[in-house]
Homo-oligomer: 643 residues x 2
């Protein structure tokens, strides 16, 4: 009977009888985190295997590094948007001419770093080896490892001159790079290599090229991504040929949705591929009609992808996006593999740095600024796992440079001025900006306020639940920057407040965070006495004067989830110690993001400066999550006391 | 305004302005546990101070070590019962003639160790110093520290002969011991010394004795417990005299409720105290009427204690119990300082060993055998705090000796035989024993079954909630040994399922653990397929065959609490790894506690042996705590399938 079931295991000991002793030594397969999502704990090759075993089709996205800092800001937003569709990974190409390993915000290294750390994307960094010394390569790899990158696409790259010359003691082929990575970094990196469905243009023959590919795999590559191709049978033949000579690792077809006449020509030139006549026949007549070409390209890609997936041999599709969004997204949506409503593993955006794998608690303060939080905690060696109180290092790094490209507002100065006011006339005009942001209605000059210094995105769906009350209080000078409703056990699959695996229940304590004047704080403190046992508060001004009723500097869990067969997860806390780091950032944003839009000494600037210098930052938690949120009543009582 | 509030603090930095940087270094006052009850984290002297500041009256209890192993078992039960009344501490006396520092189960050292580790009581170990070498004393102190004892009552002790001779280079006075402890152990121990309200009988004078007391305090003693006295004014005068010469530490009056004529005479002889004539006058005429003397003693003690407490100078009362329960309990109840319904800081009995201070998660399996759990984890260096998964060492020690006195059943063999059957006729007679334990009704021979091998106490109040269903399933061979109902957010002050500080909410997943035959397990497994997403199960036999649907060996939290201003506490988990250690213990208890009551080869013994060899131990968790417990339906379905 026992052996009929799936989950049977027999302990290695079988003393039986009446023996009373027992020891169960630490099982190394246990990890210290509840593994809410296996994705955070698996290597890329394991993820591929698991998806394949589950019959789960996936996709990945290729990007090249941007040329300008502004383009980098846009690319990062694109990572966030396209990341929401659920790619298994993205990859960033490597162009030796562009200083790809440098610290420039446009380098391949830094873009890949940003994708991993700040966008939470599994990322492959391309790396070419020809014309580089071993030390250079090792340096790049060490840097990649330090930054949390775990996957390398090992490429030869293009030779410096026209003629190909072998270098003695250098890297001549991608296989040399694969061997070098395995020699120097053991099994740390997952390694991907390129496959050429039509054979590499420089190879002696298609067969010779297949043998080269086999060498790369046997040298330690984990999977293959192919060069683009135009016909599904090209790939399927290639795959069978690979298998025939003993290549068993995953082979992922590279898909190139044709997006325009010129980009196609350029790519064809670079890759030395030939465009089939039937495609040329369609394209040539419409070559000046971008929309028509793109539509055709999407059609073509969808039908090719369908054929590949239907073959049963293909489990994932790799897209050459050319850093564009529309065509690839369209193809993916039509294939039905774009995730419309991706499940959130945790209520906040996780980072993909391996050292943050166990991280499952964060202070609520950075809810709308996760990249800033990741930046300020990047030097931490340990991340809180289970308990915030366990964090070995709650010391936050400084945030001096508000213009780090991954923290920068998507909106340019002129737009911000339109939203937040070309000219402020008093504190009330600031109240108005906050109110318009909440309501979504245009300000007095007809512009919608779609972002704030503390939040670069429009109001979250969840916050929308509180919209009416938020509007009321912002109008009167309770300038809210963060809030959540109380939740008493909704399903973890709830489209608005749900997170984590299905079958669970999520909970929240009501939270409200706002700036307000000292007059309001005085009244508020009197009101809070009535709520002493129910509401925890922290009230602080820019100078650090700090008023709180939190017991013993303990963190207060405000979001938690109960899941089948798991320990409790409490991903969000109100932590009194980190609040003091957050307040520095929150107050500074008044100046850095808002005041500095105006001339020095200008009345507008002085109004923001006054608020910065005199207002308090307040947070309130209603501990009685099963009852109706009392925080609105607290605010109501405060206004009443003031009248 | 800010300065008007109580909780004002100003951060040491006050950069102000638009400075954007911030660092908040780790605050050392934060600890890694949520400090559910300050009691677990404070030293005894801090507890005293906090109670005094809160105007909270307390009591403590003095015991002497027992003479026999049986008496030790009884004394430990008494610790558990009297511990429930909420003493601030207990203390254990030291008698050099009785090998007090040895490993014997009756030694002062081991009794104090048991009180701390297994009964969770703050404990003071007495220690005398005369006629002992420094090395002996240091050895005793080191051992006490190793065992988790944190408080020493430093005494001189009685000289060996009739005549008092000073030893050169030895300990001659308690003050020498106090100094030695402070020299060798710094501030590790809290030190208590004895005060003599009438002066020490050997002192030159009352005043000289006060000066000696001051010396002891100034040498490092933290508080004073006095010798017994018969009149409140004796103590109050003594206290004022102490204060007059600069003794400011707490002075705790020693209360001796007269419990019998002979014990009084003996104590008077030993302490060289004189019984006031008015007491003699009452007692002499009733000296043969124990009840009358005890009643008088209780009256006298109550009225004396009231007078002391009313004086405003006394915050705690120390009782010389003479290892008896009735009189002291009666006095405490009449004074209103016996806690009738002590709040449970956690759902299980905590240990007072300092290294277990942070412990706040345990597997549910040992719920009825907390002393066994503590014993088997005594070698752990770290205790799970917040997450069970964090436990650095889930390796359980062996439990070979089921007759360790603090694990021993309170009932002797003859009683067990009456409860569990002088002669078993088959598995059904075992079912009957389980059923009678659940129902509380007498078995076929007219005896109530008040304990089981897995549970030395009658059914818990909480389990009573499930009584009807438990009865039904035990009758049919689902032999339950542990269970809890599901709870969806009851107040933490709930008298039955509540725990932790007030103002919180407690939750539970329904749990059921039982032994049952392989036929039932076969049917059960078929039924469980229908509940795959809802019910987690672990099914194991004595040989270690293990069937489970738990994901990745993850623990499942089955009891948790949400409190104001705290992180989530999840004190009880179903942990797949520890379950295998528990199953060894659970199966062995059949043999050790039950089978061995019968002759070898006897039919009764063979029945138990058969069950031990062939039954399975099953645990079930219903993850859907907000819904009606489905585990009864699972069992119902199983029986239906069998029919």
């Amino acid at each position: 009977m026992v052996n009929e079931t799936q989950h049977t295991s027999s302990s290695s000991r079988s003393e039986g009888g009446s023996s009373s002793g027992s020891e169960s030594s630490k099982d190394n397969s246990r990890c210290s985190t509840p593994v809410l999502d296996a994705d955070r704990h698996e290597r890329l090759r394991e993820k591929m295997r698991r998806r394949q075993e589950a019959g789960d089709k996936w996709f990945s996205l290729e990007f090249f590094p941007p040329r300008t800092a502004n383009a980098a800001v846009n690319l990062i937003s694109r990572f966030d948007r396209m990341g929401a569709g659920g790619p298994l990974f993205i990859d960033v190409t490597w162009h030796p001419a562009g200083d790809p390993g440098s610290d420039k915000e446009t380098s391949s290294m830094i873009i890949a770093n940003t994708a991993v750390n700040y966008c939470g994307l599994e990322t492959i960094l391309h790396m070419t080896c020809c014309n580089q010394t071993k030390d250079d390569i090792t340096g790049h790899l060490q840097k990649a490892k330090r930054l949390g990158l775990k996957n390398i696409m090992a490429l030869r790259g293009d030779p410096a001159g026209e003629e190909w010359e072998e270098e003695v003691d250098g890297f001549n082929y991608a296989v040399d790079l694969v061997k070098h990575i395995r020699n120097e970094f053991d099994d740390y990196f997952d390694i991907c290599v390129a496959g050429y469905p039509k054979g590499h243009p420089e190879a002696e023959s298609y067969e010779a090229d297949l043998r080269h590919l086999k060498e790369k795999v046997f040298a330690g590559a984990d999977f293959i991504i192919t060069q683009l191709f135009f016909q599904p049978e090209t790939f399927l033949k290639f795959m069978k040929d690979c298998q025939a000579i003993g290549i068993t690792c995953p082979i992922i077809p590279g898909i190139f949705p044709i997006q325009g006449y010129h980009s196609l020509r350029q790519l064809v030139k670079l890759s030395k591929l030939e465009v089939p006549q039937e495609i040329k026949d369609v394209i040539e007549p419409i070559k000046d009609n971008d929309a028509a070409i793109r539509n055709y390209g999407v059609e073509l890609a969808v039908s090719m992808c369908r054929e590949l997936l239907d073959s049963g041999m293909v489990h994932g599709l790799h897209f050459y996006t050319l850093n564009r969004e529309v065509a690839t997204t369209e193809v993916l949506k039509r294939l039905g593999i774009w995730k419309e409503d991706p499940r959130r593993p945790l209520p906040w955006a996780v980072s993909a740095h391996p050292k943050r794998r166990v991280e499952d608690v964060r202070p609520i303060f950075w809810a709308s600024r996760p990249k800033s939080y990741i930046y300020r905690t990047q030097e931490w060696d340990d991340f809180p796992n289970g308990r915030w109180g366990n964090s070995s290092s709650p010391a936050f790094g400084e945030l001096k440079d508000y213009y780090l490209f991954y923290l920068k507002s998507k909106s340019p100065r002129e737009e911000l001025l339109k939203m937040w006011g070309e000219e402020l006339t008093g504190e009330e005009s600031v109240f108005e900006v906050f109110t318009c942001y909440i309501t979504g209605e245009p300000n007095r000059n007809g512009y919608k306020v779609t972002c704030m210094p503390w939040n670069d995105d429009p109001l979250a769906t969840e916050t929308n639940l509180l919209k009416d009350q938020l509007e009321k209080v912002n109008r009167r000078g309770i300038l809210t920057i963060n809030s959540q409703p109380n939740i008493n056990g909704k399903p973890s699959t709830d489209p608005i407040v749900g997170w984590g695996p299905s079958g669970g229940y999520v909970f929240q304590k009501a939270y409200l965070e706002f700036f307000t004047s000292s007059e309001i704080v005085t009244a508020l403190l009197k009101v809070l006495k009535k709520y002493e046992l129910r509401v925890n508060y922290h009230i602080v001004n820019v100078k650090g004067q700090n008023i709180t009723n939190a017991p013993d500097l303990q963190p207060n869990a405000v979001t938690w989830g109960i899941f089948p067969g798991r320990e409790i997860i409490q991903p969000t806390v109100v932590d009194p110690v980190s609040f003091l780091s957050w307040k520095d950032e929150a107050f500074a944003l008044w100046i850095e993001q808002w005041a500095k839009l105006y001339e020095e000494e200008s009345p507008s600037r002085m109004i923001i400066q006054y608020i910065h210098d005199n207002y308090y930052l307040v947070n309130l938690v209603d501990n009685d999550f099963p009852l109706e949120n009392c925080l609105w009543q607290v605010v109501e009582d405060t206004f009443e006391l003031l009248n």
